[in-house]
Amino acid sequence: MAVTVTTPQAVEPYLAHFERLRAHSTGPAELAELRQAAIERFAELGFPTLGQEEWRFTDVSPVTRTRFELAPDTAPPAGADVEPFSYPDCLRLVVANGRLVPELSDLAELPDGVTACGLAEAVANHPGLVADHLGRYASFDSHPFVALNTALWSDGVLVHVPRNTVVEKPFNVVVLGQPGAEPVALFPRLLVVAEESSQLTLVEQYATLGSGRYLACPVTEIVAQANAVVDHYKLQRESIDAFHMATFQIHQDRDSNVSSHSISWGGGVVRNDVNAMLDGEGCEATLNGLYMVEGEQLVDYHMRVEHAKPHCDSHELFKGILEGRSRSVFNGRIYVHPGAQKTDAKQTSRNLLLSPEALCNANPQLEIFADDVKCTHGSTVGQLDETAIFYLRSRGIGEEAARSLLTYAFAADIVERIRVPQVRRELEEFLFRRLPKGDIVRQAV
């Protein structure tokens, strides 16, 4: 395999960004040390290349070739611009160009004892929480984009739900890119701590205001302590000029239950690393996703579920719909540690190719070091079923509408699993818009 070496020129601008940030950064020494360690690791790792196993289908050279400036402190977006992403009945936090915008956020109904604020503010006001958790779960040791985020984040969101507290309303974190004339890079950082027996729902939306190239490089860490329940949704709907290099790290203590649905239809090159560490007995993790891409889009999901303790269940179901010359990568690793007996891990990835030029690479990887476990994986790549198309047409439905209905049907079991009605509606509306004869699909479902 051809091995390309990242040129130092690609790395250097980020080292310079770091130096500039360090010059006027305040905050605790531990944080400065963490950032320092991260930038050093980034300098060692460089950007990934196609020669590396974890990146062999995802060419990030468009990112490395582009000179991204750190997103400037532009004027925050107008309220009307944020309106499409402001779901009713949610606790809203808006992060624009990497910075929390308090005037666009709405935390009026935040329950007592629950913390939701900008991460920069949290460093000042909740230093203990930040020190205890930030960077403890998402490792930058082998992942240059996590290293970059850890070194360069300037703001983001902290959510902390104390013991035995149930937050009924979903948190709606809206992360907006506001690209300008020059390419910019954003490094939003999210930290969510659900203490023992607490419960919360979190929606992360990634969207673009305006046009222009930019890099969104977010890292989200979610800690579910014992018996906590977290329901997470990510909606990636950025513009086609966005590069999206994200890591989502889940850490679960005993008896916790985390479910996540990752929906992706935006961005030009999208990489999502989704990692779950099941680090206590009796955990349950559900990691589902749906992506729909077209044109030259590339979407890459790299899953890693680690069963470190016995009696944990994990379920993964991913569906992909590919049109045009788009490509998808699904790499599903399940790692069962020695002693993690009675592990029940299930992984399914299904891809629907609507065009002969679309391409999917699916690669399940099971590494099992315990002997009393149940691990299954299945992966399919296919086209619409011609018999089903004929069935629908035989009832009077036109061919295009029949294809759209079946495409919708393919996506439906992910759509139906979404428990936040606003997110579900958003996804349905997207499908009705995107699918030809969507008005007939809308009528028929």
């Binding site: 079923d385 011609e386 018999t387 089903a388 004929f390 069935y391 629908l392 047409r393 035989s394 009832r395 009077g396 439905i397 036109g398 061919e399 509408a401 029949a402 209905l405 079946l406 919708y408 049907a409 393919f410 996506a411 439906a412 079991d413 759509v415 139906e416 007939i440 009528q443 028929a444 479902v445």
Partner: protein, 259 residues
């Protein structure tokens, strides 16, 4: 004018000829039964009539109410009043049975330049049709055929037929695998839809169905051709004697002298 006139129809799939010259004429108000052994081409005939592109018509003609049926796309055939009840109805997850039918019916009504039904009108209309096939309300709300039992799927086909109100309905082995209660429900559904304007082509492997849906004409299909036609007594004869004698008779006729 006959409702349906099939002349010397030949069709193949994957290079194999299945229909080898079918002739069949159906008048309005009639029920025709097409019987025959497995592999004789009965289901292929049904699918070719409905427009399945998996089959290639190589010769012959099909005239439906004065039009060349073979020229029409499957959905246009449906909108022109042709209905095929599938032998193996397809599961469509995420698409609700009732809303799907509304979309289908409205596509048909639009084609006929009738006004589309709104949700309230449609529900009232559908409730009426449900009674015909004793459909459970829950099957209405569920995704099309998903998780339905074999009998429920077949009943759902008859329900679709009742809702879409076809001119010519082709039933492809709708009776296969049904217990007697389900069979009666299917037959009652068909019988209640019989009228002077509507015709049925009922394809079946078993004579039993014809005790409940009494046909005007019975055809026997063997090796891609209709080899015998008669009244309902023919079905009884087949029940007693099987298909073997017909196949032998044919072989005798076709075999070269001295063989």
């Amino acid at each position: 004018m006959s409702m349906l006139e099939i002349k010397n129809l030949r069709a193949r799939a994957d290079e194999q000829e299945i229909l080898k010259g079918v002739d069949l004429t159906v008048e309005p108000g009639q029920v025709h039964a097409v019987m025959g052994p497995n592999g004789s081409g009965k289901s292929t005939l049904a699918r070719v009539l409905a427009g399945d592109e998996a089959y290639e018509v190589t010769a012959g003609s099909v005239t439906y109410r004065g039009q060349d049926l073979l020229e029409l796309d499957p959905e246009v055939r449906a909108r022109e009043g042709l209905f095929l009840a599938f032998q193996y109805p397809v599961e469509i997850p995420g698409v609700s049975n009732v809303y799907f039918l509304k979309a289908a019916l409205n596509a048909i009504r639009k084609h006929r330049e009738e006004s589309e039904m709104d949700a309230m009108e449609f529900l009232a209309y559908v409730r009426d049709k449900m009674k015909l096939v004793k459909m459970d309300e829950t099957l209405l709300q569920r995704p099309v055929n998903e998780g339905f039992s074999g009998g429920e799927k077949k009943r759902n086909e008859i329900f679709h037929m009742a809702v879409l109100d076809p001119v010519l309905a082709v039933l492809d082995e709708t009776d296969s695998g049904l217990d007697i209660d389900a069979l009666k429900i299917v037959a009652d559904g068909v019988n209640s839809l019989r009228s002077d304007e509507r015709a049925f082509v009922v394809i079946t492997h078993y004579q039993r169905l014809l005790q409940y849906i009494v046909p005007d004409v019975v055809h026997v299909m063997v090796d891609g051709r209709i080899v015998r036609s008669g009244g309902k007594e023919l079905a009884l004869e087949l029940e007693e004697r099987g298909y073997g004698w017909l196949e032998q008779e044919l072989a005798g006729v076709a075999a070269p002298a001295g063989a």
